[in-house]
């Protein structure tokens, strides 16, 4: 249950994040940053070059700056980032993020921020709160609904504000930033073109590196598969242990109640009645065990997640209805199957043999 919810959380994050990045290539400058002052017009030039490539629908510059947490630094999970994307860019990217409370950023906003749900919990920053980004006060105007992506721990600020933060961060020695610095370029591919092909075209441009979303998704998927295999292994161990203990319990029940089986047969029970009674008992044991397991699992998961949330860490577990139902069905079916063998033995017991047993 606990392990399963860990896997569910991972699957949620992977599937949501993959969906978010579908059709978008991230292009960054090779070696130095697009914010590097030594190439003043580098961003504009790169945007122009990429836009000219076949298959490119749009190029959106974005600023990404790490967020420094106020509390403990040993935080588990993906880094919390500050994003700045031009207003037009978010619409172009088909922004999948929805506002949970407050409002989205508006073109005239200054020193305003929209924050992710994990960030709200970690920094106690609901709508109306003031947060500090590198010493600058920002007003939280909205929060983002949980999306199981990197944006859950993110801060989104107006593009111009993010560029100001970037300028503040770059070491003074290379402080001659371009007029419009950016951390990366999000390249949106038109529907017909292949992202891998466009990414390789971008790589031919001087000084640019490109990441194809499909190859990153494939990387992540292979990791997820490994994780699934580990969980399957753990579940297999649980299955074998569970099955053995149920067979054991039911075998003891049959042995202890041999005489009762004889009595029941003497007063008219048939083999099928006995079989049904013992399988029903095994199912009841399984249902009870499953329910208790789910409740205990929920409690453990809740305690761990609450502890993590209080430290600003990400949620590790996702208890989905399909997981709970699956776990319950699994324990019931397992019990029924494990109970079958002892139940058959009970049903086939000769009544005279059973009655001979001492009470």
């Amino acid at each position: 249950m606990v392990v399963g919810s860990l896997a569910e959380q991972l699957h949620l994050i992977v599937s949501h994040s993959t969906a978010l990045n579908r059709g978008a290539i991230f292009a960054i400058a090779r070696g130095s940053d697009l914010a590097d002052g030594s190439a003043r017009s580098r961003v504009d030039r790169a945007i122009g070059q990429i836009r000219a490539l076949r298959g490119v629908r749009a190029v959106v510059p974005e600023v990404i700056v790490p967020y420094r947490f106020s509390g403990s630094s040993d935080r588990f999970g993906p880094p919390s980032l500050i994003f700045g994307i031009p207003d037009a860019g978010r619409a172009l990217a088909g922004d999948a993020l929805s506002i949970a409370s407050g409002r989205d950023l508006q073109p005239r906003d200054v020193r305003a921020a929209v924050v992710g749900s994990d960030f709200v919990a970690a920094e106690n920053a609901p709508v109306g709160a003031t947060i500090s980004l590198y010493g600058n006060s920002y007003h939280v105007v909205g929060t983002i609904a949980k999306s199981f992506t990197i944006f859950d721990a993110a801060v989104i600020v107006p593009y111009a504000s993010s560029q100001a933060l970037l300028r503040q961060l770059v070491p003074p020695t290379i402080a001659r930033l371009p007029a419009t610095p950016a951390s990366a370029l999000m390249v949106l591919v038109d529907g017909k073109s292949d992202t891998a092909l466009v990414a390789s075209r971008i790589r031919f441009l001087t000084g640019l590196e490109a990441r194809d979303p499909r190859s990153s998704a494939a990387n992540v998927e292979s990791t997820t598969r490994l994780f699934d295999a580990i969980i399957f292994g753990a579940a297999l161990v649980a299955l074998v242990v569970g099955a053995i203990s149920i067979v054991n319990t039911m075998t003891i029940a049959v042995t202890e109640r041999t005489r009762e089986i004889g009595i029941r047969k003497a007063i008219g029970a048939g083999d099928r009645d006995i079989l049904t009674e013992f399988v029903a008992e095994a199912i009841a044991i399984g249902a009870l065990g499953g329910a208790v397991g789910i409740i205990v699992g929920l409690a453990i998961v809740a305690v761990i997640d609450a502890h993590n949330a209080s430290r600003g860490d990400v949620e590790l577990f996702a208890v989905t209805p399909r997981l709970a139902l699956g776990a319950f069905a699994f324990s019931v079916i397992l019990s029924a199957l494990a109970g079958l063998i002892p139940a058959f033995r009970a049903a086939r017991l000769a009544p005279t043999e059973a009655l001979r047993r001492v009470v």
Binding site: R259, E260, I263, R264, K265, A266, I267, G268, A269, G270, D271, D273, A350, P351, T352, L355, R356, V359
Partner: protein, 237 residues
């Protein structure tokens, strides 16, 4: 009543355990007798005399090795497993020495269990159970668990369970074995009253003189054979 006039017809019945092996035991050896409907018989004998084997046959729990035994017209040697089950459920009521009620069920549910096995729907089974408990004078104990009742009360619940399907034969195995004399008499009075009022055949397997002194017929088994078969006027009480 279906079948012939006599309830039980046994002809040359042998029961041999582990035949052809060194552990072979001949429990019954050419036993023949007839039980009429409404009879009151005690089956007595030392331990090892074949009492229990005969009781298992009378209860349709087992089949003879040789010979024939028919209960209510059903030949045990030829009947299918389902036919034996039906016979046990509908025509025979068992009463055991150790009461043998299901501990988790209350008195009414214990009685209804026998009706359930006979295929009676639950609501009707519970109604019959209440009627049956009233017959043994335990209406006020219907919702008590066996652990909350005295031995005598438990045995009366067991008798109610044996009665619930209106059997042709009540088979009691040492029914007073675990009861004090007062309760033993009460249980025997009850069984005899049912025998007299309902013409149900009563067969009690026992080695208690108190019990077989009251029976109208005593079948005595010695080494798997019927040593004596006396029909008599019961001794005065």
């Amino acid at each position: 009543m279906n079948g012939p006039a006599a309830l039980v017809v046994a002809r040359g019945v042998d029961k041999v355990y582990a035949p052809g092996t060194p552990r072979e035991v001949r429990a019954l050896d050419g036993v023949s007798f007839t039980l009429e409907r409404g009879e009151y018989v005690a089956i007595v004998g030392e331990s090892g005399s074949g009492k229990t084997s005969l009781m298992h046959l009378l209860g349709a729990l087992d089949r003879p090795t040789a010979g024939s035994i028919a209960i209510d017209g059903v030949d045990l040697a030829r009947a299918s497993g389902d036919e034996l089950k039906r016979l046990r459920a509908k025509r025979i009521g068992f009463v055991f020495q150790g009461f043998n009620l299901v501990p988790a069920l209350d008195a009414r549910e214990n009685v209804a269990l026998a009706a359930h096995y006979a295929g009676v729907p639950r609501a009707e089974a519970l109604r019959r159970a209440e009627r049956s408990l009233a017959d043994v004078g335990l209406s006020d104990r219907a919702h008590h668990r066996p652990s909350d009742m005295s031995g005598g009360q438990q045995q009366r619940v067991a008798i109610a369970r044996a009665l619930v399907n209106e059997p042709a034969l009540i088979l009691a195995d040492e029914p007073t074995g675990e009861l004090d004399s007062r309760n033993a008499d009460a249980v025997l009075d009850l069984l005899e009253r049912l025998n007299a009022e309902r013409a149900v055949t009563l067969a009690i397997v026992t080695h208690s003189e108190r019990v077989y002194a009251r029976a109208r017929r005593v079948l005595r088994l010695v080494d798997g054979r019927i040593a004596s078969d006396d029909t008599r006027v019961p001794s005065a009480r």
